[in-house]
Symmetry: C2
Subunit: 332 residues, 2 copies
């Protein structure tokens, strides 16, 4: 049916090996021959079959990306970073959604290895033992993007969430607050449990303040849930005067709950959050935020993966990227 390397070889009166050399840019081809072959390729409309190539060479120039949910802008932005670097190094990406379900993660993992991907970038809330075991037996390089690995034997790319959370809460403390609530995403996400919450508590304790359990609110990361959960804080005798929110969806949900109740931001309550989306800047007042470099998280992960796939020596396989705080209108 379609044109093969053999057709080109016959048309150009050379062997398929020569055509292969031309296609792969091998220098051991006489310029005249190269031109002749190139002409035939053009004329016949030959397009190399990457599947056959993959079988013969054991390289597919394809990597797998397992992401909880690409429709979440957090992962979409991160994936774009991965994709751009992948393009730069001429890799394709097989993108799959896990919904953070462990069985699904295992399935996808197996599936992608079956497809002979050259490498894998993995994102999840938390690494199960099963997945870790599966990863340790896989014979392709793996990078965890924005995902914690307590044992640190896997390559990871992150920001220092603990310190970032500390910075955010410190800012509120410096503004004179003593009753600071942490409205968090789900604690099933390691970054929330072991980084942001820890940083929050460290800042509070360092300031000599008590850590009130009632001021810790767990949400499912959605605007709607955060909006509802404001009710819990509002009925407290001693309401918080400042909120550290796990991300901007949560912050805006809280903010709207607060304002629908007649309170003012930042006059009555100040808010600071991790920024994952445009939302932080689009709402009024604009939210003071820890800006998370999502694109870079993806890009650096992919760059690291290319090094591993090339067998290059990787000096630091647990990368921490810089972040910054942007002061806007939700704090004074």
């Amino acid at each position: 049916m379609s044109i093969t390397i053999y057709d080109v070889a016959r048309e150009a009166n050379v062997s398929m090996a020569t055509v292969s050399r031309v296609v792969n840019g091998n220098q051991n081809v006489k310029p005249a021959t190269r031109k002749k072959v190139l002409d035939c390729i053009e004329r016949l409309g030959y397009r190399p079959n990457a599947v056959a190539r993959g079988l013969a060479s054991k390289k597919t120039t394809t990597i797998g990306v397992i992401v909880p949910d690409i429709s979440k802008s957090y992962y979409a932005e991160l994936s774009r970073g991965i994709a751009d670097i992948a393009t730069m190094y001429e890799y394709n990406i097989i993108l799959s959604n896990s919904d953070k379900r462990m069985t699904r993660e295992m399935e996808l993992f197996d599936d992608l290895l079956g497809k002979q991907v050259d490498g894998l970038i993995f994102m999840s809330d938390s690494l199960s033992e099963e997945i870790k075991k599966e990863m340790s037996t896989a014979n392709v390089p793996i990078v965890l993007a924005g995902t914690l690995d307590s044992s640190t034997d896997l390559a990871t790319v992150n920001i220092d969430h603990e310190q970032a959370a500390y910075d955010a809460v410190k800012k509120l403390i410096d503004n004179g607050h003593t009753r600071i609530s942490h409205v968090s995403g789900p604690l099933t996400r390691d970054i929330n449990r072991y980084c942001k919450k820890v940083g929050y508590e460290r800042a509070i304790k360092e300031a000599g303040l008590p850590v009130y359990e009632e001021y810790f609110i767990e949400t499912d990361n959605t605007y709607d849930d955060a909006y509802e959960k404001w009710r819990i804080l509002r009925q407290l005798d001693e309401k918080p005067t400042a909120i550290f929110a796990g991300n901007d969806d949560i912050a805006v949900g809280m903010m709207n709950g607060i304002r629908d109740d007649g309170y003012s931001i930042p006059d009555d309550i100040e808010i600071i959050c991790f920024q994952h989306t445009l939302l932080s800047r689009a709402v009024r007042p604009q939210l003071t935020s820890i800006v998370v470099p999502l694109y870079d998280l993806g890009a650096v992960s992919m760059r690291l993966l290319t090094k591993m796939m090339n067998g290059e020596e990787v000096t630091e396989s647990n990368v921490l990227l810089p972040y910054r705080m942007e002061e806007r209108q939700s704090t004074k």
Copy 2:
């Protein structure tokens, strides 16, 4: 290195043909033999090589998706719809970003065909002649998702953007407005030029109102640009009293420009927009919107593609999905 079908065959004392039958669920295998083979597969940890399978069978169970920019929530949401149906039918997705650049689209197209994808879902602002030609010679099924094809010989899935725009503007007219501005996305996007703008003008004309050129504002689809472009409208002698915005980013940009100027929404100016993201509901006042079923657009596209890949007869290959209007606080 890794376990092949041949290893399993030897271990189970059968031919590779039999192992292949077991793996592929072929019924012509004695139950006892099947069990024996399955045991060996389990014991050896055999994982079929999808590349070899693809070469032999000429099916990769992989489809290509070309998207302008996955970091835009519009495409991220749509892609999730594609992905879920793909999973259901056991296809993987190679996801690539084109940034709407035609040369990049051509490259990707060629690249994906080289990877022997079984089908392709394509999204773009507009179909170039080059791409259409390339598509017509491709020997795999192609579906355009949220992308116009004037010649209608390609399969497409859309909503009736023209009618939706008409409905939106009609709503504003019914609310008594006569000076209605259309703040559009770029006219290089066919849906903006040939659907939304046309629907806007149809509604205006049908109401016996004049179409003022000054009321048409083109933006680059971003919040920031829309925020800036408010300046153009504000300096008009006769400012519009209502705005039909191409999407929620634009609407929020406009809204913030308007309010930073001291005007009130909806009292001074009413706004209605196409909703692509959470933004419409997260801002205050919440935006009255045409809710675009992005997820469904993707899901239906993928379902259509599976039918085409199966060689099933497709009765309607230009699908229009329903949409709805949700009245919120930015209109009275």
